[in-house]
Amino acid sequence: MSTETMTRAEAAPAVLPVGRYGYDQVDRTFLRERIEQFRDQVNRRIAGDLTEEEFKPLRLMNGLYLQLHAYMLRVAVPYGTLGSKQVRALARIAREFDKGYGHFTTRQNIQFNWIKLEDTVAALEVLAEADMHAIQTSGNCIRNITSDEFAGAAKDELLDPRVHAEILRQWSTLHPEFTFLPRKFKFAISGSPHDRVVARFHDIGLIARPGPHGRPVFEVFVGGGLGRTPLVGVSLRDDLPEEDLLAYMEAILRVYNAHGRRDNIYKARIKILVQALGTDEFRRQVEEEFAAMDRARYRIEPALVEAIKARFGAPDFAPEGNAAAVLAEDRRRDVRFDAWVRTNTHEHKAPGYISLVVSLKPAGGIPGDATAEQLDLLADLADEFSFGELRVTHLQNVVLGHVRQDQLHTVWQRLSQAGLGTANVNFITDIVACPGLDYCALANARSIPIAQKLSSRFADLELQREIGDLRINISGCINACGHHHAAHLGILGVDKRGQEAFQITLGGSGEEDASIGQILGPAMAEDETVDAVARLIDLYLVRRENGERFLDTYRRVGTAAFKDVVYAPA
């Protein structure tokens, strides 16, 4: 849990969890102590020995928010990887302490919307038994380190980023210098040139690739973010060697910690500091700090990386056989399966394997909602077909990383029976939506109902296929938890004298071509917004040229035509 873990010379657990780091006794003891500490704090709060003002920061340090209708518990999934046992623990929390649901977010967390303060300690105990916790899911500290949902599996990946994500996790968890930063701090890390982690919209985004002597190097993006002031991160350097990863991160955080605007919450993120200083000056200060540091203390030797890697279980891929031929035959025989394979799978680096995306976006459904039963089923499928490992995506879906191609048809049938077989990944109905005013105390408007209406309106699969890749993201306020700025078509809830209204943005992207969506015009009522989106889609279908995605057409045609169909319908 701390830097000392990395120097601990302890035998790895007998059975290693595939795809993530195996906790040892030190980690487990720490979690137990932390839970006892929180139990005491809760008891003192209930007894009246702590006021709400005193207690609030303490509960937030354990991921417990007070929302509109109840307390909400936010649980981190480090680099998005979960073991089946962990998923069953989440199902248990949903069943015993919530109203039967868990809700996946855009930062590889899961949230429970109905946790009682009285039950929180018991819920944290269930988490701890599965080597999980809710620490640093709130507050001005380094938050969950997110990563690529296809890490360690994707064919286009250059290296598995999860070992370095784990190094960053150990370094950042309870780091004494960075527990009270000017504002929260978000990292994302990828090992693929295709940005599936929204690296350019994070406080620090890292893109790893193999460098000299077979050791990784990192491109470092700094100062990206959404929220009130959306900004694309700047590339600070392209060639950070592995051995200096922690020293350089520490140098960046020190510059931020020293200069970040603690006097003004709206200016406190590192993105504002980078803008205020300018990239060159910010880089100069980081380099200066970096040069002055005792770099040897932070150096990550290859032996250390290998020791961390050795604490990760690796899948034992069976020889290919005729798996690919079986899959091809299954696709020929079943058109619905074929449609799903086309949208919901991703190429795997191991021959005969494939990664699949479980869409948590059924027609008319709530994006990211999973029932306890669905979570248990996902755990079962992971055990039977994917080495006991699952991943959660920043687009509120779930991934089974390593499925043998000849077993894919069976997995799809099992998913479909549970309402999890929707074939819409990256289509118009694969909508991201924050909880919005249905739950969130900060919201101005509901996000989920508009997602449901759009999802029902465009449910026809033929139509979705015709429209092609189109990312719709919805946020209930300017905090942008639903990443609306990074959407091809974003929707933002605003408050119009106490009533809900919505603004449309166009042209955002969270990938390598990162861009911030432009506001189209004044906000409108929910139904008008749904109709306006339909007209935008119609215009795109008329104006698009060979093979263009919605985003391409928008970028080529420009805003004016789209604005006309929204505000002056024919």
Binding site: I46, L68, A70, K99
Partner: protein
């Protein structure tokens, strides 16, 4: 306090609301001083009185087992029930619209 929760006209009427400390559930104050999960059981007071009532209640939040006591302006709906004037407070009163089975009503 969030300005959206305090949107009150001089001559309107308001109900008093809070969240329960132990489970976080939204509650509304009735005429007898008890706190109900249903806004329909709460009793409005005129906006001229609400601030005074609030300040006396806010001092007692701990003994009442409540967090975040504040006033919410309401109006009569066509069916005769009281309804908060803002979307936010309507959702707090009637539950998340996306899971109607979780509504307190």
């Amino acid at each position: 306090m969030d300005i959206r929760s305090n949107r009150r006209d001089a001559d309107g009427q308001s109900v008093i609301t809070a969240n329960r400390l132990l489970d976080g559930i939204t509650v509304w104050r009735a005429a007898d001083g008890s706190w109900k999960e249903r806004i329909t059981e709460s009793t409005p007071v005129s906006n001229t009185e609400v601030e005074g009532l609030l300040s006396s209640l806010q001092g007692k939040a701990q003994e009442l087992g409540l967090v975040g006591i504040y006033g919410v302006q309401v109006q009569d709906s066509p069916d005769g029930r009281i309804v908060p004037v803002t979307s936010r407070e309507r959702i707090r009163a009637f539950g998340p619209s996306v899971h109607p089975e979780f509504s307190p009503l």
